[in-house]
Amino acid sequence: MLDPARARPQPTPETRHFWEGTKAGELRLQRCDACAKVYFPPRPFCPGCASRQVSVFPASGRGTLYSYVIHHRKVPGFTPPYAIAVVQLAEGPRMMSNIVDCPQTPEALELDMELEVAFEKLDDDITLPFFRPAKG
């Protein structure tokens, strides 16, 4: 279980599928039925073409390290230094996350390294999507 002092997301009707997905061990994204754009963060219409015909689908969970900082100041629920990363998902969107099972150093955190999703429970309702170096 993660440190409960960590900032806790509060799902809304438009994002609930995402948080139900992480709880079920799936990284759920949305795809526009009209123009096929895959997008994130969640909303019930396509930010590319405004179509309301969109579908939720489980993403591969694969991505690469797009950019990050290694934060050195104290934040509730975290032990510095820790990386705040942005992951380029294989399906196209990017998302913020933390990189686990990896030293939090510039040497270990190489941009464009292959990553895979790893879920960790924050509490009974919220599971966060993290990423770890891909096992190949």
Binding site: P41, V69, I84
Partner: protein, 380 residues
Amino acid sequence: MTPKTVAIVGAAETTRLGVIPDMSQIQLHADAALNAMADAGLKPSDIDGVATAVETPQQIAHYLGITPSWVDGTSVGGCSFMIHVRHAAAAIASGLCKTVLITHGESGRSQVGRPPRAVPPSSLAGQFEQPFGPMGPPSLFPIPVLRYMKTYGVTHEQIAMVSVVQREWAGRNPRATFRDPITVEDVLNSRMIAYPFRLLQCCLVTDGGGALILTAADRAKDFPRKPVYILGTGESVETPMVSQMEDFTTSRAFRVAGPTAFREAGISHADVDHLMIYDAFAHLPLYGLEDLGFVPRGEAGRFIADRNTAPGGKLPVNTNGGGLSYMHSGMYGMYALQESVRQMRGIAPAQIPGARISVCHGVGGMFAASGTIIFGNEAP
């Protein structure tokens, strides 16, 4: 708007800058506003337009005793004041009001009477960024930097030169918070905040404020100060989440606001004598120089390291010392505007001799918003 028809006729900062624990945030607005009204020779009853950010126009109008017929509460972060200038110029040009007061006050350091800044946990940032450990701008703003550095082969030493050069400018400014010279080694040995950025690559946290007064250019010559004309303006927003920027090597909001202002002003880059690029963190001048088209993509690091923006360089940038060395209360845009106005009036501490055109470029949030104002000191 009809360009080139509006001018700045009053401009001032708070009497003091830095640590001001004896004033609440709204009083910092008022102190700056009273100074700007004195600068213009105006009373509150002469003002019919009010614009401000974080605090609301009704708070400021009531506090100062103004009855406005036009207000703007655009609050998109530190470049809100550039956007206020743009909106005020359009409002004056179209006859909605005659004389606009724009105020900023921020108890960024002393935190006296400052509303709390919290990210709601149900917002998109609250759900999809906050759980991963950011804590304010120092943790979020530098997130794109490593991608920019890898894309263009920019070095830590080149980016460190941004802080070094701005400290040189600050050394010429008696009101700057930090004035002692620093070296690249000093920057790269300062305390790590959020790798790759260290303390000397992050802005100050201070108290202060500033205010501007705008009116029609044809009235401007009746005021005591040399008028500063608004030649061009631009604005845009991109995303409230830095993780969702289209491209981590460039700001879409910069690329809309900057060129819009240049087109409206009808000037080229070679016409620019003085440039302010809002520098909350050391990478912003790099993005600004490239996104506004002053240098080709990926070359801003070398351009700064080669001292082109330093005292004596061909393009003086952030001549007050910037948010890195002059002052930064949290929303720095007003102070960048004040330095552009001083340069155009010919009264800046580090005055650029003969400067006729100044570009002032702001950012709001973490690449969330942008506003660009182009000033001139000759009647258009």
